[in-house]
Amino acid sequence: MAQATITRTTDARGTGPVRRSRGRRHRGEDLTKILFVLPAAVAMVALFGYPVVKNLLMSLQDYGLRTFFTGAAPWVGLKNYSTVVTDNLFSDAMVNTALFTIGSIAFQFVIGLALALFFHRRFPLSGVLRSLLLLPWLLPLIVSSATWRSILEQDSGILNRTLSWLHLINEPVPWLNSPSVALIAVIGVNIWIGIPFNVTLLYSGLAEIPDELYEAGQLDGATGWRAFWFITWPNLRAVASVLLMLGVVYTIKVLDIILGLTGGGPANATQTLATQSYERSFIDFKFGEGAALSNILIAISFLFAIFYLRSTRRAIDE
């Protein structure tokens, strides 16, 4: 199937500038290339070098409230990891994190893609409407979670009021009050927050696909679904994969939304690894354990990152 897809880069790829540049401008060229990367490399090391190392070390230490004042943090090896992994809540938090991440990303992406395709059709106001879609991102999270809490309120919330007015429900739904529903509600809110991000990036990806490809495809009979499958999707793949990758990384560590909506409740039904990590660090002041949990989160994202890198490398080498 891969050969049948139409992408715009395959033709020129093999004769890229790099291979040709192994000539007389060789050395100066290498220097320029380094200069392209240098500012970013410096910025990354300055902004992240210390925190990354610190987080790793912290997870191997008994890092408590006292440490901040005295600096003393005895090494405890992997004890923090065993403590957090054997905790009663760990498996629940793990499952919730998986459900939260998969649920959020799947719906954000699919809805985002549908909306991006829709807005890609040029019609009056499409640009303005699409930019207004970003409005939720301009609201402080404390405000949007408070608003959602009031919308989802069991007794007086507008959602239940509307649903029962439409006779869709007989009993008010305990959106945030029932351990079996709360996670769904929280995922729903997170999907809402994530859609604008997905729409905007996918739309930009769509906008980059030259019309000529579709014109060429039309000659081969690729229209409608076939056009999507053989032209749109392959050309969107680079953007889509980075988007999904970032989606995983950002979603897996979502904290404020859950804290703002349920605080991990009711009865721990919405605890994720991220909320647990936060709780251990800033409620229990066991920073070593909090760091251990966040490193477990990082390790999970890391697996996705490797996966992502392999898939993009394949895309380049194709």
Binding site: R8, L47, F119, L125, L134, P136, L139, S150, V239, A274
Partner: protein
Amino acid sequence: MNDSAVRRAVYTVIGVLILVVMLFPVYWMLNASLQPSGNTLTAGFLPLHPTFSGYQRALSEQGGNLVTSLIIATGTVILSLAIATPCAYALSQFRSRWVSVGLLAILISQMIPGIVIANALYTAYERIGLLNSIPGLILANCASGIPFAILILRSFMLSLPPSLVEAARVDGAGLFRAFVAIVLPISKNSLITAGLFSFLFSWSDFLFALTLTTKGGVRPVTLGIYQYLGTQVQNWNAVMATAVLSAIPAIVLLVAAQKYIAAGAIGGAVK
């Protein structure tokens, strides 16, 4: 009215409906901001007896914070793009085994909890005197802006035909000049997208603002809103009003940027 005009009008109607659903919570916040209590417990669908006291308060107290937020967010966009774009180009076009290492490092940086970064920056800023300063906050917000922009720009630049740059190089342009003259203009669309999100990340930042300021001087609106959210007493009416007001200049900016994207997409038909 011909067929396609009708169809396009239908699309607009559908688009508006989608927006109505998606933005309902924003409307609900607007509704709350017009209630004296700042909540919608007793509110109907429409704010029939609106009060503007929250707005009066927000206007008189948050104006400066709003400007601070705009300056920081704009600064973050400029700095992030300036640093990220060449790097993204390099990572998309140069062939080296370091590319994967670089990408992995960038991805890992995005996995670190914000609070860990904020704490580390606090210690560093305290030593070099960047606390309570706009440049300090811009730099900190670049911690989300730069890696994000690199990843996004790179994924767009992967599809740049190298022949474009080659053509310029044949004319004797250096790698850097070719980058500025050819790559940048053609990437306008993706630059704006990456810039847009750098703006949004920085705009919604609360953590860095809280951590890296110790007095009232430099205060973005996300922090300013806490003027109304005390430990025990919350003035939601003013909170909601501030949120509405602060969204207005930003959304104007975004609509303008999106217009630019549309223009860019058409102008980018060079390919």
